[in-house]
Amino acid sequence: MLSKKQLFMRGMIDVAPHMLSVIPFGIICGAIGVELGFNPYLVYAMSIIIFGGASQIVFLQLLSGGASSIVAVTSVGVINSRHLLYGAVISEYLEKLSFIKKLLISYFVVDQGFAESNKFFKKNKTEEYLHYHLIGTGGTLWICWQIATLAGIILGSFVPEELGLKFAIPLTFIAIVVQDLKKLDHVIVMLVCGISSLLFFEAPFKSYILISPVIALFVAALLLRLKK
């Protein structure tokens, strides 16, 4: 049986390699927010209030491009809907916690933390204080994300506009999905989404950002059917 502290430390260690991508991503997120012309306090507040890298960048990019707030907020919801899946997967290990503790720990469920803690949970089902591992991964990610976005906001105010740092936005998202290019079904879904986004780019309120994922998810559901 591991102690709470040991589990917490284990979580920190397990998630440490991800810092190599989380920290630069946070710096880019902060720098781009400033580059797009937003108030630095607002850019930073998002890291606490939303705490979801990709969705933070999308939100700012859409608003700066003239999207309506409803579209921007909804797209954050769509992008972050993947957390429903994470929650469904790890809830089995958190069942014994009180309602309040469940509410608190939920804030720390993020991509990399979920991936590492879920791996650990599967191997160590019998540990009593399993959730401390999740606090270790999520807490570490939270602190690094805060520091990195702050650093990015400070750096961003020095980066000259000629560098075209905005181009880092698509590159960042390429880095997120590039490994899925190995799977044909994912490639099809990506192409459907990308091509739809170009076709519907002129749709009002920048709604292409919602229309294309809906079409792409529909295609994904069809592909799942064909697979069986």
């Binding site: 209030i49 899946l85 809830s91 309602f99 939920s106 998202f173 880095a175 989404c193 780019f201 559901a221």
Partner: protein, 105 residues
Amino acid sequence: MTWLSITIAGILTYFTRMTMIALVRRDLLGEKIKAVLAYVPSAVFPAIIFPAIFINDYGAYIEMNDPKIFGALVAIIVGYFSKNVIATIFSGLLSYWIIIFVFLS
């Protein structure tokens, strides 16, 4: 207005995290929905990637020889083989900068 939107986006995001853990029975999401949710990144992020590369600041399609296309291709190749996020982003930026500052200036 932006502050309000951020707050709502934050609450919405928190609900995506908390709902399955604290509010509902986890088997509420059927296997089918879970399988579709696994496609969310592939179904969402290209809608950011494609317009950011193929459409310029004025809303028009770019030329096929635009440095952004080259930068994106380099990033895809580097990312695919290196599996490294930093290498992906910086190889793309660097190849883009080399073209705009060395060849086009």
